[in-house]
Structures are given as C-alpha cells and as structure tokens.
Amino acid sequence: MMFARRAWIVLWKDLLTERRSKESLNALFFFAVLLLFLFEFALGPDRERLTAALPGLLWLGFILAGLLGLGRTFLVERENDCWEGLLLTPGDKGAIYLGKLAVNFLLMAAVAIVLLGLFGIFYNVDLWASLAPLSIVIFLGTVGLASVGTLFGAMTSQVRARELLFPLLLLPVQVPVLLGTVKATEAVLQGLALAEVGHWLKLLAAADLVYLVVGILTFEFVLEA
C-alpha cells in the first residue's frame, strides 16, 4: 500500500511541475510536428508511399520523441539537491522508479496521441476504424519504451555526455519493441484482427514485464549518488 502511495506521490509531484512549467509537453508536441514535416520532405508527397511507410514512421517518430523526452524527468532532479531528497526517501526505491515510469508513460502517451492525430490529418489516413486495437499496441509499446527509458534516463542524467549515451544505450535494447509494434501497427492499419498478430502482442507484453521487473529491482543501484 505504501509502495503504491509513494509511486503516486512521485507521479503527482512531476505532473504538477509539468503543469506549471509546460516545458516537456510543449517542446515534444512541436518536435512531433517537425518530424511529420521532415518525413514528408524525405519521402515526397506521394500518398500511397506515405501510407505504406506509416507504421514505421509513426514508431520512428515516437522513439525519436522518446529520446528527447524520457531523460528529462531525472534532469530536473539534479537541481537544488532534489536527487538527495529522492535518495533520502525511506522504503523501496522501486516505488520511485514506478512513479517516474508513470510520468514518462503519460508524457509519451500524450505524444503518441498527438502524433497519431497529425498523421491522420496530414497523411489523410482513416484511423478511427482501427483505433481500439491500435491503442492496445500503443499501450504495450509505450510501456516498453518508457520502462527502459526511465531506467537509462536516470543513469545517463549523471553522465557528462548524456545526450550521446542515452540513445546509444536505449536504441539497441528497444529493437524488439520497435519490430513488434511496427508489425502489429501494420496489421491493424490493414484492418486485420488483433488475433492475427497475437504472437507480437504476447512478445511485447513479455518484454514489458521483463523490463519492468529488471527496472524495479535494479533501480536502487542507479539512484545511489
């Protein structure tokens, strides 16, 4: 019970900070729009080509936004000795990890919704029909991305070459998540039933579970000063 409450307090604190500063969300939304334009310029205005590439572009954009956004939750802790404050918190440090993970999840989910909406409008794709299965895929993918991203983000926030190291660590580990989500998104957008990609969903769920367990168990070693 205390565990959940501690995680909730971390989440609430970060959401409050975000609501008052609106730093991460604004920047990430703008970044999502920029990515959309870049993809369009890189592939040309051919609608068929864009639609065919859509699942890949969607998740590529999503992961790029994650590279920018996921580390931020720990960067703010470095100021005013907040890091020491986290360290001094009694009890299981896994709760802090879960709280931070929830913040990152919400942040990335917001980006995903915006990105989807923009894709729907600019590339003229009908997303309403496949919204329900798509949201399941996005949920699983976001948990995978955020769970590893939170762990590595905490780590790299203490490192000199942060911007450099974070993607180098995160991207190779995220390959299975990227493969699974892109394949599942592809199938869902083609109107196939979720059962057709059941093996991918199971793989994503298993990956999420493994990352979560490793994150909760090892986070205390990362948090130490």
Partner: protein, 215 residues
Amino acid sequence: MTRWLGWLAALGLLAGLAMGFGVAPKDAVQGNVQRIMYVHVPSILTAYLAFALVLIASLGYLFTRRTGWDRLAHSAGEIGVVFTGLTLVSGSIWGKPTWGTWWTWDARLTSTAILFLIYVGYLLLRGMVDDPERGARYAAVVGILGAVNIPIVHFSVLWWRTLHQPPTILSPERAPVSASIGLALLVNGVAFALLFLYLLSKRLALRRLEEEIRA
C-alpha cells in the same frame, strides 16, 4: 600462469588450423569456403560464454560490491564484443561467395548484430562515467538488462524473418556432421576457449594496473 595459457592457446589454434585445413574434408557444395566455419562457430560460442560471464559478474557485483566482479564483467564484455565482431566479419566473408551477398537482414545475422550493438553501448557507458564506482554500478545494470533482453531480441527477429540455416551444433537433435568435421570443430572450440581465458587473464591484469594508476 597467464604465459602458459597463452602458449596453450597458440598451440590449440595451430592444431585447429591443421584440423580445419588438413583433416576435415572439403565441403562438396561450398568448397573450401566452408572451412571458415571453424572460426565462425567457435567465435560466437566464445562470445556467448563471455556475455554469460558478464551477466554473472554483474549480478555478483550488485550483490557483493566487490571490485573483482566488476573487473571480470568489464574484461569479459570487451572480449565478448571482439568475438561477436569476429563472428559478424567471418560470417560476411563466408556469405559473399555462398549467398552472394555480404549482408542480409536474416534473423540470426540481425540478432547477432543487435547483440554486438548492445554490448558496444555497454562499453561506451563504461568509458563515459567518470566515477569508477558509479560506472561499475551502471554497467552492471546494463549488463543484466542486456542479457535478459537476448531471448526477446531472438524471438522478435526470428518472427521478423529468417534465412540462416538452423544451428547444427547446439540443436537438440544429434548433429548430422561427419566425425572429422565434428572433431575439427571441437579442437577449434577448445582452442578458442583457451584463447578466451588467456585474453581474459591479460585484460584482468591490465584492469588492475589501470586501477592502480587511477588510485
């Protein structure tokens, strides 16, 4: 001790070469190119051994906080990357005449490449953290996550596509290879294991010296 290991490894490698070129028969379909397998397969097995050591040593470090475990994880990780690189390169050289291409996005090639990238990231992390104690902790976490990620990578890439012939040596059924080929492979495998131990003890000694200089 280390010196003896070195000589043993050198002898083993010579014997392996002799077996691979002298005793093992020329492949009926692929010709002499097939002999690269005597380097390719021991390399990847050695790399797996090294990464398993990284996992064990990482766990050991987080539980005991002894520098010795960290030294072992670091050294094994570096050697594992070298052998994974060797696997990729030797596979490429074999693939060009056999498959007609240096590289193809086949499942086993891709997952080996991802393995390579994950552990290159692991080594980069070690290089970028200034405080050695913190570096050891972070590296241990990445070492554990990297290892448990291997099966997930394996299945994801397997379902993505596959072209590589299924593994012959590590499959549950009896390997359908002739005795002389199996023997040549075994000699090379032992030689590579000796080489690994030699490199490991060298690297461990080097790490100790690095720590002395830093202290």
